[in-house]
């Protein structure tokens, strides 16, 4: 089964995008990334500081992995901040990809959909390929597509909450509404069963970080998510049975012995 995913002009085999933050150590991060078999990792820009040049060391590690990097605009609260950050990221990371985050609220880290659409349009105009971190709002999704986005990344639940898909109804509606747009569940997944569920619903990929990095054994958890994703994707292709309310015997009733 050839089942690759095309994100803008890039074809990937793995449907797992993994964050690079919050790991107990760089070595564990590298191990987790390798065992996830992911082809895309997310990174950010932060202030370089002091003489240790922490960022340079991090960047060496990432470059050695030889993966696609997807820089984010985490922490930006306005379109302008996000746009400037994206331009800085393009230069540093040498990619036109950007995971566009415009954060609107501190407790839930939910997107500011107004700033998001504005920044997506401007960045697309400037030649970026935007991966917008968005909500499950279908109208916002339409606006992002009109702004030039060719991928949508709705949240499953608040970033780092690990709650899984808070509103499966809404994500199902989104999948049905945009059958041909690559849809990535970004944020909020906590367990591999959540990832399998997303894939069974027909989502194209998963992006996460905390659930792997904060597991007791991040590398093992990365492997687990990777396998659950693949399993969920196969289930989607295998066309699951419909749920029923009543039971139905699996063992044949015909030929049942009379032994009483």
């Amino acid at each position: 089964m050839n089942d690759t995913l095309t994100l803008y002009d890039t074809e990937v085999t793995s449907r797992f995008m993994l964050g690079t933050s919050l790991y107990p150590s760089p070595a564990i991060m590298v191990d987790a990334i390798k065992r996830s078999a992911c082809e895309i990792v997310t990174v950010s820009l932060r202030r370089e500081s002091g003489s240790d040049l922490e960022g340079q060391g991090f960047w060496e590690i990432i470059k050695n992995l030889d993966l696609k990097v997807l820089p984010n605009t985490a922490g930006c609260h306005t379109a302008k901040e996000a746009i400037t950050t994206a331009m800085m990221a393009r230069e540093v990371f040498g990619t036109t990809w950007v995971k566009l985050e415009v954060i609107g609220e501190a407790d839930t880290l939910q997107p500011d959909v107004f700033g998001l659409v504005e920044a997506a349009a401007e960045l697309t105009n400037q030649g970026f390929q935007v991966f917008p971190y968005t909500t499950d709002d279908l109208v916002v999704a339409e606006r992002l597509l009109e702004a030039g986005c060719e991928v949508l990344m709705p949240w499953g639940a608040p970033i780092g909450s690990g709650r899984g898909i808070n509103n499966p109804f809404a994500l199902r509606a989104m999948r049905a509404h945009f059958p041909n747009v690559p849809l990535v569940v970004d944020a909020g997944l906590g367990k591999p069963s959540h990832a399998a569920q997303a894939m069974e619903m027909g989502y194209d990929a998963i992006l996460l970080n905390t659930a792997v990095a904060k597991a007791g054994d991040p590398a093992l958890m990365a492997e687990s998510f990777a396998e659950a994703l693949i399993a969920g994707r196969k289930a989607y292709h295998a066309d699951p049975m419909e749920e029923r309310d009543m039971a139905e015997p699996s063992t044949p009733v015909l030929g049942q012995a009379f032994l009483s």
């Binding site: 690079t20 950010s44 820009l45 202030r47 370089e48 922490e54 960047w59 901040e81 540093v92």
Partner: protein, 65 residues
């Protein structure tokens, strides 16, 4: 000349961003720069003047989710 570099007060006589980076030891580092909230590309740093009161951001690759 008083600058704010990455949020810290910094006294400098650097005329350009390139000079400032050199002064800070980031000459060969992989960094991106912004001056007063506007991106300054690497190729413009030689000509981008630094002025008193400027807010300079020097950003490096970092972990992210």
């Amino acid at each position: 000349m008083n600058l704010t570099v990455n949020g810290q007060a910094h006294k400098s006589d650097a005329v350009t961003l390139t000079a400032l980076l050199e002064e800070l030891g980031y000459k060969d580092a992989t960094v991106a720069t912004a001056r007063n909230g506007e991106f300054v590309s690497a190729t413009s740093r030689d000509v981008e003047q630094v002025e008193d009161g400027d807010k300079i951001e020097i950003l490096a690759p970092m972990k992210g989710g």
